[in-house]
């Protein structure tokens, strides 16, 4: 101890010396040209810079100040100058001032108060990053006076719309608690509120706050338990670690032990868990039934074994170790062994935990024994841990392999490791009686090793081994006595002396001789050797006093005047004990029994024997002593507490508010786009068949629309219960796969929460907007301001969860049928939407009942309206604003030469977007009819507006700026050639007449080979009208199909005829606009030759 202090002081002085040197040397270095020589002057300079009115000067000063802080130098005197800049507009300067404030506010409390109002103002800022960082600093400055302000701010921030700000609030809770523990009660309220938060961003932080502030309030977890389990996979990795540790503790108080003897699991049960574990267990009449919540935890944490974060893997491993039934533990092994490839420090911790596990369950790690083989390049503490594990794993079967490996280690250049190996061999020898003799012989061989430490360690280990069976090994003792002269390590010498003394009866001739030698060298020996010499002398005096009496006297005399008081004490004590004189009391009679008492053999056991009292993976486990703040893992309760506390009234869809931004994430959308073709066609097919079978069509469509709603929600709920349903889903998906090739892709979406969920959400959003009364679209028609649509949307978003929760209840029961129907939902949703929102009410009716034959009778109305929407603006690029457009194929109400477009704008950020409009300047010169500016779009809401663009009969993209209050986004709409047409009706005769006029270079034609399924007239019609907005002309010839239309801007005729000559077909297009004609021809060709349904 005293030693420590000395070195400590030395270091401090040395440190400060170095510091001072640095101080001096750094001044000229950091200030260019060495203008300022003294420290205070330098600060003056900084002060001046801070007070300048140039931001760049201030920034420069702050950067230098931060440099000072980083070096640990005192910059507190600049506080007044720095704090003035807290309200700076420059964000980097502001951040650096924050850094400074957090560092020094504690020391300058009064001045720090000056900055508070700035933070309070920033807490109201519309920018969430600014709100969050204001709260971060406010809660970090550790000035007790502002506790009430902090409390208020935390409460406010905990209800903030931005999950990021809420996360910051969760962090602030811990800060406030450490500043003023009296606030605990209030803080618990906030924690309780935040625990209910469904954002994955918040979950980790609030659980951290819970663990710090009120870990004993386990009751707060009940209601959130299932939600946390389900969210876990999506929480960021650091949060995962904290949540897993907390849930481990929770589970140990709430569930009964799965380790009971009678709980025999059959091999298949694990697979069956996904089906219906309860049923299964009941069937088997097992006395132990695992709580479904317990199983939920195990199941949801299992994927985390594959995390790249070692802390997460370790956390799940300890969770399984402490909670899983014993037969499921093997899953831990592989993952932990994998971690051994990681950094040295990670290896260290993981090996420690494996060491503890391997004591209790050898079998777990035995197959991976070779992964613990030592390399010469490992660090010493890693080597020793590996050795520990290898020793733990040793059994009769593998001992020979392990011993052979140990032989290599003994020769290691790393002597500390070699010594540890010898101890390990000793442990193997005591553990496995078959090899005791082999080990002993091996160790004896090591006695002739040239290295002292090896020999010394061997002696110590042999001593321990011999204690178990001394009588048979007197020759070993003799051998050691011979070596005695060559051994210089005191511990080894002491051990040999002890052995001699203890078993002097076995070596009656040698022991006195050894004592004689010791008498000669006594004065130059180490203390420990002297003590053992005294011991040996005493024992020999008692057994063989004739030969050793004088020697003993001599040694005791030497010891009497030794410098070390321990030795003097011992000598005095021994003398009184063994040499009878008038003073010695009754004790000397028992001297022999005292000194020669049989001693129990030392037990060689692992240093990790009792480590399992600590929870694995904790700091306490690593240190093998209870760390501050360690929370004991309780034993399993004998009877499980009430399970119903975890039941939440309604199972809400988990990610409803989970990550608002990605509400309409691009993958969802793009995938929709990606698959939409097939869906669309599928829908058509549906309709085609229904028109054939018209009697059942209405019924079918009804059931379809119903199922669409349900399946929509089932999609959503599936994210909350995804796991429990997983199995069924895959089953379902297999079914789907058989039905149609698309099924596989759908499954992929389900498998992936992000995509599947975002997709369903966007669907539900569009659905809700469509189900919204048609008054909205009406108002658009009248070109009214959309001011009320915003509030409408708001209502809508609010009502959404309610609606979905209602349906989720049904989900369980109806599951099978629902999942089948899931398939059709995307196709079925948009059709009512398009009809309601399209500007012309008249044609709406047609949109609802699309049937090619029917609509052909109507003049100038689209035969078919495609549902495909195209992306205009992605939410990522649009900072939360996303836009999609689709062609309504209606005559534009804004102008005769315009193409009508429908725009769906959605806000997927968490702030309302204001003043969404198209900017006045149009870059490509097309005439654009803008929609009326949308004043406010609430988060998660979407609105549909219509606009018109005059493309001038060209497929050149229309570029324009989509603006919000803050931003401008350049977007462009590229029309397909087929969208630049409007259908017309002419008689067959007129058609032929017009066609006759447009020959020569106005005609373009191509011959294609039709696939058999395209040959029917319906499919040809359908294909053509889906590509281009043309009207179908009734034809008298069965094998010729005619279509007519005109270009939107110029009104030129476009005549298309398809003549079928099995198996070929000739497409002929007659139009003045030859460019459009050839483009159209190319598209028709691909459409008609494509064989997909």
């Amino acid at each position: 101890m005293s030693n420590n202090n000395v070195s400590y002081n030395e270091q401090v002085s040395l440190e400060s010396g170095v510091d001072a040197a640095q101080e001096n040397s750094s001044i000229p270095a950091s200030v260019s040209g060495g203008l300022f020589s003294a420290d205070y002057k330098k600060n003056e300079d900084l002060k001046e810079m801070l007070e300048s009115n140039k931001d760049s000067q201030k920034l420069e000063a702050m950067k230098r100040i931060v440099g000072l802080i980083a070096k640990g130098k005192n910059a507190s005197e600049l506080f007044p100058a720095v704090v003035k800049n807290v309200a700076s507009k420059n964000i980097e300067l502001k951040k650096l001032v924050y850094v400074y404030l957090v560092r020094y506010a504690e020391e300058q409390q009064d001045l720090a108060l000056l900055s508070i109002s700035t933070f309070q103002r920033a807490l109201k800022d519309p920018n969430q990053l600014i709100r969050a960082s204001a709260l971060r600093v406010l809660s970090s400055i550790r000035v007790p006076i502002i506790v009430p302000i902090m409390m208020l701010s935390i409460k406010e921030a905990s209800t903030d719309l931005s999950p990021y700000v809420r996360k910051t609030a969760a962090h602030a809770i811990q800060k406030l608690y450490s500043l003023d523990p009296d606030q605990k009660e209030h803080l618990i309220e906030v924690i309780e509120k935040l625990l209910k938060d469904k954002s994955t961003l918040v979950a980790g932080s609030v659980v951290m706050a819970f663990e710090e502030v009120c870990p004993e309030r386990i009751d707060l977890i009940h209601k959130n338990y299932r939600k946390l389990c389900n969210l876990l996979v999506d929480v960021e990795e650091w949060g995962q670690v904290v949540i897993i540790h907390m849930l481990t503790r929770y589970a140990r108080t709430q569930f009964v032990s799965p380790w009971r003897e009678d709980a025999v699991f059959d091999e298949n049960s694990e697979k069956a868990f996904y089906d219906s574990e309860e049923e299964r267990k009941v069937e088997q009449v097992k006395p132990y039934i695992m709580d479904p919540d317990h199983r939920l935890l195990l199941r949801n944490t299992k994927p985390l074994f594959q995390s790249r974060n070692t802390a997460v893997v370790m956390a799940v491993s300890q969770l399984y170790w402490h909670l899983a039934p014993k037969h499921e533990l093997n899953i831990i092994t592989k993952s932990l062994v994998r971690l051994l490839r990681s950094h040295r420090e990670v290896q260290f911790i993981v090996l420690q935990n494996i060491a503890t596990m391997s004591i209790q369950r050898k079998g777990m790690f035995e197959p991976f024994m070779k992964s613990f083989y030592v390399r010469s390049t490992d660090a010493t503490h890693i080597k020793i841990l590996k050795l520990e594990i290898l020793t733990n794993l040793a059994n009769e079967a593998n001992i020979s392999t392990i011993l052979r490996e140990f032989q290599t280690y003994v020769k290691s250049q790393d002597k500390a490791f070699a010594a540890a190996t010898i101890q390990a061999i000793g442990r193997c020898a005591t553990d496995i009686s078959e090899v005791t003799d082999t080990c002993l012989n091996g160790l004896v061989l090591l006695l002739s090793n040239r290295d002292e430490t090896v020999v010394a360690e061997s002696v110590v280990v042999i001593k321990k081994l011999l204690q178990t069976q001394p009588s048979q090994h007197s020759d070993i003792i003799k051998h050691m006595a011979k070596l005695f002269d060559n051994i210089t390590v005191s511990m080894a010498r002491a051990s040999i002396l002890w052995l001699m003394g203890e078993y002097c009866e076995h070596v009656p001739k040698i022991a006195p001789d050894v004592l004689r030698k010791m008498a000669k060298t006594f004065t130059s020996e180490e203390d420990i050797v002297k003590l053992q010499t005294v011991n040996l002398a005493a024992k020999l005096y008692l057994t063989n006093s004739k030969q050793t009496k004088l020697l003993t006297q001599y040694i005791l005399n030497l010891g009497k005047y030794d410098q070390n008081y321990d030795i003097r004490d011992r000598t005095r004590f021994i003398r009184q004990l063994i040499v009878p004189n008038e003073k010695s009391g009754a004790l000397s009679k028992y001297a022999r029994r005292i000194l020669m008492a049989p001693k129990p053999a030392p037990v060689l056991q692992s240093a990790f024997k009792d480590r399992d009292r600590f929870q694995l993976g904790t700091l306490s486990h690593t240190l093998n002593s209870q760390a501050i703040g360690y929370l004991e893992l309780s034993d399993w309760p004998a009877v499980a507490p009430d399970q119903s506390v975890r039941i939440v009234e309604v199972v809400e869809p988990v990610k409803e508010t989970g990550a608002p931004v990605h509400g309409k994430s691009k993958p969802g959308k793009s995938s929709e786009k990606f698959y939409s073709d097939s869906e669309e066609e599928e829908e058509e097919e549906e309709e085609g068949s229904s028109s054939e079978d018209s009697s059942s069509s209405s019924e079918e469509s009804e059931s379809e629309s119903e199922s669409e709603e349900n399946s929509d929600d089932s999609n959503k709920s599936s994210s909350s219960q995804s796991d429990s349903e997983k199995k069924k889903k895959t089953l379902k998906n297999k079914k789907l796969q058989q039905q149609k090739p698309d099924g596989k892709d759908r499954k992929q979406k389900n498998g992936n929460a992000v995509k599947g969920e975002s997709r369903s959400e966007s669907e539900s959003a569009s659905e809700s907007s469509s189900s919204e009364s048609s008054s909205e679209s009406g108002s658009e028609l009248d070109s009214d301001s959309d001011s009320d649509s915003g509030t409408d949307q708001k209502k809508n978003t609010r009502s959404k969860p309610v609606q979905s929760t209602l349906v989720t209840k049904q989900v369980e029961k109806k599951e099978v049928s629902l999942l089948d129907l899931d398939d059709f939902s995307p196709a079925a949703v948009p059709s009512p939407k398009s009809s309601i929102l399209s500007p012309s009410l008249l044609s709406d009716l047609q949109g609802l009942s699309i049937s090619p034959t029917q609509s052909a009778l109507q003049a100038s109305s689209p035969v078919f309206v495609p549902e495909t929407s195209h992306e205009l603006l992605h939410r990522m690029t649009g900072k939360g604003l996303s836009a999609q457009y689709r062609f309504t194929r209606q005559p534009c109400i804004y102008g005769n030469s315009m193409v009508s477009l429908q725009l769906t704008l959605s806000n997927s950020s968490d702030q309302a977007l204001e003043n969404i409009h198209i900017s006045e300047k149009s870059s490509t010169g097309q005439n654009i009819h803008r929609f009326n500016a949308i004043e406010r779009l609430e988060p998660q809401a979407s609105v549909t507006v219509s606009m018109g663009v005059d493309f001038n009969d060209s497929t050149q993209a229309a570029n324009f700026q989509l603006c919000t209050k803050e931003d401008e986004f350049s977007v462009s709409i590229q029309p397909a050639v087929g969208e630049l047409l409007l259908p017309i009706t002419v008689s067959e005769a007129d058609f032929s007449k017009e066609q006759g006029k447009l020959l020569g270079m106005n005609e373009s034609s191509a011959t294609i080979t039709m696939t058999p399924e395209n040959v029917s007239s319906q499919s040809v019609n359908r294909k053509v009208v889906s590509v281009a907005n043309l009207g179908v002309i009734p034809s008298s010839q069965e094998n010729i199909h005619r279509f007519a239309g005109k270009t939107v801007s110029s009104g030129c005729l476009v005549l298309v005829s398809v003549a079928l000559k099995d198996p070929d077909a000739v497409i002929t297009i007659n139009t003045e606009r030859t460019v459009m004609g050839s483009m159209l021809l190319r598209q028709l060709k691909t459409a008609l030759t494509n064989s997909d349904p």
Binding site: E15, D55, S56, I69, A70, I91, E92, L93, L96, L129, A132, R142, S162, Y164, T168, A172, Q174, K175, S178, S205, M208, D234, E236, W238, V241, H245, P303, Q306, R308, T310, A311, V313, V337, R338, E345, V346, I349, V350, F368, S376, T377, T380, H381, S412, Q413, G617, L623, A627, I628, K655, A659, V661, H662, S665, S670, F674, N752, H874, M876, T877
Partner: protein, 418 residues
């Protein structure tokens, strides 16, 4: 959780400190210095050091000790993993993580540390989020900044922070869309004196460099996915897809990242590409020894072994080496006692050989143990496990990306005992 962080170089200078809660005196590091002294080698410093009032958790990386101060119970791996993440972030930002770069960029380092932890709890560790908050320094940008006075700090919350795919930046745009995947396998093996394999396993990683615009959704499939029995993934990978279909489906982060790592431990699957015939002996008398090493190809699957290097940590008593190499060059460093034989390409027709004598410190006893040989090698266009990428599909974007897969096999911890 993490209270403070100190950065200390190998010579014991504390050159940066950062506190996330109230300030802890740097004298707490004295306990570290004590342990450091005891350990002799920097590698041997224990990762966890208890002190009377705090706990120090340390990592040693790139010649810097990252010493963090902990006050209460925390999973040690949590801290260790985080510290490594800090080091990786520095590497990412400054190209390397060294004392000089940290000192040169102290302001950015400070801003980063401020963003990465709040009250000791990790806040943002995803590199693309950090890069939106604090832009990495480039020469061009620092020049522009000095002229225009604009800053390195982002003004709005990075979109990734709120999204469920925090690893991807929004609005990524490239003119050349490309995705490269490197399958890198390392053979960890221990061969004994006679050349038999004591232990062998393959550690594989798939490094990706994905530069694709927009929000692409990729699917990578293997010819023989059953080979991989133990995998860990970047968080972007959908684990359920892997479980059910054995394909890797993900929305990639932008730029370089490690997609997955795997571990093949079944020993019969591990081919050992080379054999080593060695004979190192030290004589009882005369303070000298002899060394004779020959390397030859074993199971190379018809490929050439390149960059072959043999490293030997000689016992302390070896003073110098007088050797003759038939191929490549050798170098013996008498200070570190490392003999390095750089062979280069392995020619199966003419096996490289290193032969000669070693001279020992006179009077010292001959070393107990023969030094073990560490082998380094590289085989291009081969994944030694036989793993093959089948195809890469992209969904969600329209353009056609350029795709490439490269295979490399290296020696990991490849040791030959003598």
């Amino acid at each position: 959780m993490i209270h403070s962080l100190f950065l200390i170089n190998t010579s014991g200078d504390l050159f940066l400190e950062k506190h996330w809660k109230s300030v802890i005196s740097r004298s707490v590091c004295d306990y570290f210095f004590e342990a450091r002294e005891k350990a002799v080698e920097p590698d041997n410093v224990p990762p966890v050091i208890p002190t009377p009032h705090h706990y120090l958790i340390t990592i040693y990386r790139e010649k810097i000790f990252f010493v963090s101060v902990i006050q209460t119970e925390v999973p040690p791996l949590f801290v260790i993993e985080f510290l490594h993440r800090v080091a990786e972030t520095f590497q990412d930002y400054f190209g390397e993580c060294s004392e000089t770069t940290i000192k040169d960029n102290v302001v950015i380092v400070y801003e980063l540390l401020e963003e990465m932890l709040d009250n000791g709890f990790p806040l943002a560790t995803e590199s693309n989020i950090l890069k939106e908050l604090i832009r990495p320094p480039t020469i061009l940008r620092s020049m522009v900044n000095t002229i225009t006075g604009s800053s390195n700090v982002g003004e709005t919350l990075p979109t990734g922070q709120l999204s469920s795919i925090p690893w991807r930046r929004a609005g990524v745009k490239y003119t050349n869309n490309e995705a490269y995947f490197d399958v890198v396998e390392e053979i960890d093996a221990i061969l004994d004196k006679s050349g038999t394999t004591v232990f062998a396993e393959i550690q594989g990683v798939i490094d990706a460099c994905v530069k694709l615009s927009g929000m692409p959704d990729l699917t990578l499939s293997f010819m023989n996915p059953r080979l991989l029995d133990d995998v860990s993934f970047h968080p972007c990978v959908r684990y359920k897809r892997w479980e059910s279909e054995r394909v890797i489906s993900f929305i990639p982060p932008d730029g370089n990242f490690q997609l997955m790592s795997y571990h093949i431990s079944a020993q019969n699957l591990v081919a050992i590409p080379i054999y080593v015939k060695q004979n190192i002996s030290f004589f009882e008398t005369g303070s000298s020894g002899r060394l004779d090493i020959t390397v030859g190809p074993k199971q190379t699957m018809g490929k050439t072994v390149e960059c072959l290097v043999v490293t030997i940590h000689m016992p302390k008593v070896v003073l110098s080496a007088n050797l003759n190499a038939t191929q490549g060059t050798y170098n013996y460093d008498p200070v570190t006692k490392i003999l390095l034989w750089d062979i280069g390409k392995l020619n199966p027709q003419k096996l490289p050989n290193l032969k000669g004598s070693l001279s020992l410190l006179s009077g010292a006893p001959k070393p107990e143990e023969n030094p073990s040989l560490n082998i380094d090698l590289k085989i291009q266009q081969l994944a030694i496990s036989g793993l093959k990428v089948n195809r890469l599909d992209m969904y969600g974007e329209k353009y056609k990306p350029f795709k490439g897969v490269k295979y490399v096999t290296k020696a990991g911890k490849f040791q030959v005992r003598t």
